[in-house]
Subunit: 121 residues, 2 copies
C-alpha cells in the first residue's frame, strides 16, 4: 500500500468558497478540516467539544465574550467547549480545524451558514 502525505496548500487550492469546511483526514473519531474565512461568521457554541483552530494564512480573529483572539499564520487557539465564539476575518484567511466527527460548524446557532458534514477533498 502506498502512503502519501497531505499537502495543505495543494488541498486549499481545491476549493474557493468561504465557511464550508472540507475534511482532509481523520484521526480516530476526529476530523481534520480546512476552511476559508472572510467576513463575520455567526455567534455560536459547541456544547460538547473543544475546537482547535490553526491559522495557515492571513489573519483570523475569534471573538469571545469580552475579548478577541487574533491568529496569524502559524498560530493556534483552542475554543473551550460551551464558550460562545465568532470567527471573522477582514480579508480572506485560511485555517485548519480539528474537532470530533459530526460537529456542526454553526454549533447551537440557527444560520444559513450551516455547512454540510463530511465534505471531503
Amino acid at each position: 500500500m502506498q502512503h502519501l502525505s497531505i499537502n495543505l496548500s495543494e488541498r486549499l487550492e481545491l476549493f474557493s468558497d468561504f465557511w464550508r469546511p472540507r475534511v482532509i483526514a481523520e484521526l480516530n473519531d476526529y476530523q481534520i478540516k480546512l476552511v476559508k474565512i472572510r467576513g463575520e461568521f455567526v455567534w455560536h457554541q459547541h456544547d460538547h467539544t473543544d475546537e482547535l483552530f490553526i491559522c495557515l494564512g492571513g489573519c483570523l480573529k475569534i471573538e469571545l465574550p469580552g475579548s478577541t483572539v487574533t491568529l496569524n499564520e502559524g498560530e493556534l487557539f483552542v475554543v473551550p467547549k460551551g464558550v460562545k465564539h465568532r470567527p471573522m476575518a477582514d480579508e480572506e484567511c485560511h485555517a485548519m480545524l480539528i474537532e470530533p466527527k459530526g460537529v456542526i460548524n454553526t454549533g447551537d446557532a440557527e444560520s444559513e451558514l450551516t455547512a454540510p458534514q463530511d465534505q471531503w477533498i
Copy 2:
C-alpha cells in the same frame, strides 16, 4: 479573562532537545505537542490510537512497513493505529503531533528514547 493565541515558532524556540515532545495545548482529551526530530527513532506502534504528524519545518520521514512517507513543511500524515512506524530526519526538523493524552512516544517499544509525559511549555 484574557485569551491568547499560541505561536508555534515561539514555542519551538523554548527547547532544543530531540525526540522529547512538549505539550502546548489540549483539545478535549487530546494533546497538541511539538517535537524536534533528528536521526532515527525506534520502530514502534500505538495499539489504541492513530497519530497525527504535521511537519512545521525541515523534512520528516516516517518509515512504515514497505514504504516511507515524506513530509515537508505544510504537510501532514496520520499513522493508523496498530501500524508499525519509525520517524526519522536526516537534518533537524520540527513537527506537531496530535494524539490522545497518555500516549507514550515509543508506543510498544522498550527504548531509552521513551519521553516523560505531560511536558508542557
